[in-house]
Structures are given as C-alpha cells and as structure tokens.
Symmetry: C2
Subunit: 353 residues, 2 copies
C-alpha cells in the first residue's frame, strides 16, 4: 500500500493535530453531479452501477476531480448485504429501494446466512481495489456498511417507511426473532467491513440511518448493542496502521455519550445538535463528524460560507473535527455550492488549528 499523501482525515479521526479541518460529504458522489448521471445512464441502473466495479470506481472518484476533498468514499449501497442474502433488491424509478422477498416469518429468518464477501459481494472489494489503484494514496478511501438494525428495518419492511411499524411490531411481539436476524446481520456487516479493510480502505463508517426511529431503550438493545458487536469483530489493526471507525446514528443526538462509548473513533452527528454541545458531552471520548443541515447546500454560496464559519466556531479550536453534512448531499444541490463549502472549510478552518 502506498503511504497517504494527505492523511488529514485520519489524523482528525484520531484527534491528532492537523493544519486545517478535513472535509468530505456523505453522498459526495451522486445525482447532483452531471457526470454521475452520465455514468449511471451508461450502467443502465443504480444497481448495475453498484455491481460494476469499474463504474462504481469511476463515480467514487468523480467528486475528487472537482473538489479538493480530503477523502473518497466507496460508491455502493448499504442494501447490497441483504441483496447478497437473497432478498432481491430492486429500485423503482422515483421510489426508494424495495425487496422482492422481505422477511416476515421465523423460517425465512432462520434460513438467512451472512454472505461470503469473496463470492456474492466480490464487486465491492473489486471496486475498492480499482479505486485504490487510481487514487494511489492521494487521499484516504472510506468503506462502509449499514448497521445491523438499519439493514433489518429494510429487510422486514421490504422498503423505507415513515413509521417502521412492521419491524417495530416484530421488536415488541417477537423480540427473539429480531435478535436472531440482528445476529446474522452483525456477522454479515463485520465480515463485509473486514473484507473492505483487507481490500485496502483506510477508514470504515457504520451508517445507522434508522436507529434514531427507536425509543432510547430499544435503541440500546436492538441497534447500539449490535454496532458494538460489529466493532468488537473488526480487524482494525494497530499502531499507525489502525483503521479508524466512524459510527453515525441519524437522530442519535439524545444518545451521543453512549455511541461514543462503543469504542468507535468518531461519532457522526446529524444537524440537530450543536457541534460545541456535542464536544462538551463526549469530551475526549471520540472525534466528531458533521454536521451542516444539507438544506444549506440549496441556498447561495454566501450562505454556505457563513454556515461553514458558524459550524467551525461551534466546534471551536483544536483537533478532532471532520467537516461533513448531517446527512447526504441533496439531489438538487448546485455543484458550485459544494465547491463553496469545500473552499470555505479550507480557507476558514486553519485558524481553528
């Protein structure tokens, strides 16, 4: 592996001093970029794009051609795991993801097995190898997975939901069944993240997109517990080669202390919490990643710059902040606003270090 030419992200994740605040954006490769839409057209579908390593690598690298970002994040989808488990992932145009065979009974959950990433998810690690060849150590590459509970949400409901009533009914009525599913998902997530680490990602991130829909007690039992188990199974390495881990629970602001206590290196924040408040609550427990409201990217470059300044001030001086949004880049973001965001972080952040 070539040494990283820009290790600002890694240093910030370990709360080591940096010259400026590193920045990358959730969904930095995506529909707001015309070149992404062009590659997706060539792929034929979103899923074909995810499953074709050369094209996934291409879109992974696109935002880095435009913006001086401090990291690439592998272009993929959290639902590749349940797809590899045989649930039949598909996308309807204009709708979210769907499963042909959602899990509704004991037999289908009992029969579920964690996929072998070297077989059914080979396209993920192949894309990582290809990205790394092109990146050649320019910036770190981030690998990721959904959390066991977030995957279970889609696997039980069969699609996104406003209220997640089906999976919550299982949680309350058949908790043992949900625990069994979460154990399988935990093995699958840990195995995939370890395969990503072996293929050469420099950072891994766990997206707990729907853990925040749970009550505090249910979050601890059904989401955080399994994130913790994933972390304990990761082959993170040690010393200078240790792979830092980011855990992001959308809606997790009430539980930041507990998320930090999992032993992750960095807690991802949505925009509902002030960076300064989060820093006071977590202390030296973990670095923080976030947390501009993505809606800011729909305003003018001047507004973007002003909000970047406010976020930097809220975190304050010192190490341990990775600049990001509180969720993904919106579809209708003008690319020049992303340029304004990245430029503002680069220009305004050095005086906080």
């Amino acid at each position: 592996m070539p040494a990283l030419q820009n290790d600002t992200l890694i240093r910030a994740l370990f709360r080591q001093p940096t010259a400026y605040t590193p920045v990358w954006l959730m969904r930095q490769a995506g529909r707001y970029l015309p070149e992404y839409n062009e590659t997706r057209r060539r792929a034929g579908s979103f899923l074909a794009l995810c499953k074709t390593p050369s094209l996934a690598a291409e879109v992974t690298l696109q935002p880095l051609e435009r913006f001086p970002l401090d990291a690439a994040i592998l272009f993929s989808d959290i639902l590749t795991i349940p797809d590899a488990m045989g649930l039949g992932l598909y996308f309807e145009e204009g709708e979210g993801p769907r499963f042909e065979r959602p899990l509704r009974d004991e037999t289908s959950i009992a029969n579920l097995a964690a996929p072998d990433p070297s077989k059914s998810l080979r396209y993920v690690t192949d894309a990582i190898s290809e990205v790394r060849r092109t990146l050649a150590g320019k910036v770190p590459l981030i690998g990721f997975s959904g959390s066991p509970y977030t995957l279970a949400c889609y696997m039980v409901e069969g699609q996104a939901s406003d209220d997640w009533h089906k999976v919550k009914l299982m949680l309350h009525q058949h908790p043992g069944l949900l625990h069994r599913l979460l154990e399988t998902n935990t093995r699958a997530v840990a195995t995939l993240l370890n395969a990503q680490i072996e293929a050469g990602v420099n950072v891994v991130m766990i997206f707990d997109t729907w853990g925040g829909s749970l009550s505090a007690a249910a979050f601890r039992e059904f989401s955080l517990e399994y994130i913790q188990r994933v972390l304990s199974q990761l082959k993170r390495g040690s010393g200078a080669a240790r792979v830092p881990v980011i855990v992001f629970t959308k809606g997790g602001a009430p539980w930041l202390e507990r998320i930090a206590a999992t032993g992750c290196d960095c807690v991802g924040l949505d925009w509902s919490v002030d960076l300064g408040d989060a820093r006071r609550r977590i202390g030296a427990g973990a670095a923080l990643q976030g947390n501009l409201d993505p809606a800011v990217l729909l305003a003018s470059p001047e507004v973007v710059r002003r909000e970047v300044q406010k976020a930097l001030e809220s975190f304050g001086k010192g190490a341990g902040h990775v600049f990001n949004l509180g969720h993904g880049v919106p579809q209708f973001t003008p690319p020049e606003n992303v340029a304004a965001l990245v430029a503002a972080v680069r220009e305004l952040s050095p005086k906080f270090h």
Copy 2:
C-alpha cells in the same frame, strides 16, 4: 365554570402530588375508533368535521366514553389558522393536508393578517363551549395550536415534506421574510389560544411538530423564540385558576433544557429520550408528558402493559408525569390496546406516588 371533578392532570402539570399518573393520548379521538369514522362519514369530510362544532364536540368526547382518560382534547387541526388566513386548506383522500395558495413571495407574506378568532375561527370556540357543557367538569379540556414555525412549514411548502427544503431555503436565503411570517403566526397563535382559554379550556398545548427538523441554532432562532413569544402573550391567569401550558417539540430531545426554560409548565417528549434522563436534565424546571412509542399500540395488550410499566419506572417516584404517547395514536391501533394502556397506567402508577 364548574369545578373539576378530576383535576389529576392539572395537579401533575403543576408538579403537585397526585394519587396516580394521569393519562391522555395525542389523537385519542381519531381514525382508530369506529365511532369516529362514523361521525366523520356523517360530516362528509375531515374539514367539515373540524368546522361543525356539534360534530367536533361529539368526536372529542368519544374516547372518554370508552376509556377512563384524565383529559379530553379538543378535536381540531393545527392548520385551521392558516386556513382562516385564506390559504385554502384541503385534504386529498389518503394524502396529508394541502394548501391551494402556499406562501412563496414577499407580497403574500406581507399581506397576511392574524385571523380574528371570534369571526373566522368561531367554530373552534363554539366546539369548546359545547364540549364543556357536556363534560360538565368531569375532566379537564385541553386546547391547542401548532407552533408558529410548524404552521410556517406547511404555509410555505403547501403540504408536508420529508426535508422541508422550501421553508429552509427561505430561512437561509430570506430570513427576514420568514421572521415576518413567524411574527404574524405568533399573533395568530397567541390570539387563538387566548380565545380558547376564554372559551374555557383548562390546559393549552403547543404542537411544534416540525421544529425538530431544524438545526440546533435555527431551532432557537426560528421556532423556540416564537414559542416563547406566544407564551409571553398568553392570558394564563393566576393562582388556582392558572391555565397550564404544555410545549411539545417532536425531535426536540437534544434541546429539552431550553424548551423547559421557556416557562412552560410541561415539556412533551417524543419516545427518543428516557423519561428518567429527561427528568434528570430538566430537574424541577417543568413537568414531563409522554412518551411511549406509538408503535407499541400495534402489539398485544400484554406488551402494552409491560411498556407502560417500563415508562413508569423510568420516570420513577414522585409528581410531575403525565402519561402519553410520544406522538399520536396510529390509525390501525386496536381500541382494546388503548384500553389496556389506560388500565395499565391506572393500575400500575399509584405505587409511584
């Protein structure tokens, strides 16, 4: 006004000792009750139901016929205010509320005036009078309004939204315009709540349903500030006749201390926060209302009872807890589960007092 035969709710809101924990449920009158659906059919539409005092009074009282609840809440809709402002509220079957004339420019916002409740919202106070006649002091009647920001969300977007990008674009790009709208909404909300108090409600509640979609800083500036102004304009009365105020921000768990500091009597909680944690954070600052995940009502009566017990334990011993859900009763709730909830609170709560 007749003295209240059951003042358990009022006492709990003032954090005075009670024999048990009072209970009522957001949307306790609603589509899960066959008798509600029957009255709605007679009314012809949801909006006609809201605007016909005799029918609104009828559905307000229906859940009290079935369950020994400690309060009635006026059947109405938070969007009656913008409707009375001339925005043209309508409902499509199976869709949420819509406005014919959403606010998109300076002129429409400048021309907006707070409605006179004695004219265009007379049906609200008429329904209150009718409910009070029938209730005859049996339990308290709760009046309510949306928060200024929550009303603005619908008024600018024209309908509910996943991301509220239109109103957030106004917030970032034309904050002065949004402030102007919020000032008008504040006058409208305060005027309507004062009219409700004059008509005889015993408690008022402000529903800040979408304040939680904001960043921490934007919440303080665009939602909480105006809730605070509403509170300062309320004619709450004094002494034993003082009307307690509940403020509920869905998604407000990161900001409970600040919500309590508005001077409200009670903070409504969604299910993302443990009652015990919220109590420690707020201290003697306010009573707490909540906070079962409404999804619990879709499970069995045994599960409902177990979750009621957990919530009571989480709050712990002492005064200042009003039992409720963390949001409204779901449409497909079996009425026997509401019966189980209310019975469980009555049976299990005395030992916490």
